[in-house]
Amino acid sequence: MSSAPARVRRSVRTTWGVIGGVVLVAASVAASLAFGSRVVSLPEIAEGLRAFGTGGTAGDIGAIAVAERIPRTVLSVIAGAALALSGGVMQAITRNPIADPGILGVNTGAALFVVCGIAFLGITSVFSYLGLALAGGALAAIVVYLVGSVGAGGATPIKLALAGAAVTAALSSLVSAVLLPRAAAMNEFRFWQVGGTGGADWSSMAIIAPLLAVAAIVVFCLGSSMNSLALGDDVARGLGVHVGRTRALAAAAGVVLCAAVTAVAGPIAFVGLMVPHAVRLVVGPDQRAILPLSALGGAALLTIADTIGRVIGSPGEVEAGIITAFVGAPVLVALARRTRMRAL
């Protein structure tokens, strides 16, 4: 009986959270369109959007700038949401507060497959490029997860982090081995190595959008099962949850979310780590609230990071991936300090 008011309080907070999240995303989108190497005014935004919508060309420079920013803003929103969702899912199914898909080696796995594709198979099409990155990233995450979960205790945070770091180091060496004799490829590759939304183009986004949508739907459907997973495998089974199936589906969705984004935007770390934690502080441990709010939060975060990068890097840019790494590492440090060792 006494839990009812608490529950009501939480769902009120969730509702406010959703509203706040939507507002935050809208604001960050506006900021992303407005700011950059050139600050743009409201009428210019409107003009740019109109030109974009009608497919025509905009009149003045400001509106052109806006029109150019639209694809990357859209990508930032989608990618940020996907990455945050991916992180939230990984943390839920591994019961591990520091599970970030980047730590799981998705980035390096994607890089290795892409580089091998370019070097040995002469791949040039964007579609194959994406496919390779997706496959490589997924495979790396699976290997890291398997390696990290062998032995007592399953995939504890430290074992998983070490497995990720070790596998990443190993894959990096392989990447170097492939690239060093091929100067041209090495030159190309270094631009992909830094994650950012600058290279956003509609065709790639169109390819990954359905993947992301399906994965996201799977994740949301698994929300309450994941709540049960948090109590431990045995308890979850007792509550009627198909533990293996839930975990496999959720993991697949999480990996797809991250690998697809990495394929298009390159490696962007720590979004999946930071956002779910922040959201959890506000709405508590219910995955059905955490996941959607994380998506909103991630969208806002990456968009803002991208905007900041364009502002401080003007006339060029500092890629969003760098910004998130710089903000994320201290957050990881703070998390590691706060969490009791036994929990880790």
Binding site: A169, F326, M341
Partner: protein
Amino acid sequence: MSGAVAIRAGRSRRARRRRIGIVALFALLVVLAAGMLVLGQTSYPIGDVLRVIVGQDVPGASFTIGRLRLPRLAAGALAGLAFGVAGSTFQTLLRNPLASPDVIGITSGASVAAVLSLVVLHWSAGATTALALGVGIATAVAIYAAARGAESTGGRLILIGIGVGAMMNAVVQFLVQRAAEWDVSVAMRWLTGSLNGVRLEDLGLLAIATVVLVPIVAVLSRDLRALELGDASATALGVRVDRARVLLIVAAVALACFATATTGPIAFVAFLSGPIAKRIVGPGGSLTIPAALVGACLVLLADLIGQFGFDTAFPVGVITGIVGAPYLIFLLIRTSRLGGSS
């Protein structure tokens, strides 16, 4: 006192195995060193090699051996020694074979500084080394400071190190991306660890560091063996845990940073030396000297393979990376299965 006799017998047996292992490693090192000096585009007979070392002037050989191969050998051996000791010390201190300085981001700061110096500041090799050293040590100190204060520093150190390593990696990628095209291969080559182009003059600092720090670690190895039993047991045995740990970590970090600053981060040498040494000399004794020898052998062997094994010459770091990877995975799985943790 037949009990004591039996104990001594068992101990002698294990000590003998250790001695044989160390002698074998040393012999291997000598053979590899000879290989480094003899083999090449022109292979010189061992007699000429010895004459050059002694100081005589042998036409052709003096330059090739004296100015090219000898520095390469010295750099490889010293870096291998340093990485080996640094890695095994860290692994023992943190009670985790996976917690090697190259895996947990301790030396990532040195990489950032070196890349910065190579592609942005265009400083000389000596200045690059100095900068990499300073920043490397500062980064390690920062990581250690951030991890302090918990009952068990080990796990936190690992996590924070990985986080900082990721951050540093982002910076490195950023710098490489901004670099002029002709600087990129130099940077990438350095980042994988390479013995190319090292001159004897550049090795002074590393040589001093190795000669000073490795014996220090060896002396402290008794305390290290007590620390292996856990902080509580070590304190009970009369070890000043905090002091011993700080000294050992500083020594290990310094060795790793000195080596990284000179040759770049040679993947996995720090990580592999300890476990391989343990398999050769057996558990229970000090790993410092064996790991040092294994490290040196690994680097020299990998460099020989890199130089002569394929059509293209690969830097030593690529070879150690590729060879190290499967062994690392194997070790990860084996460690987890046996329940090892920090």
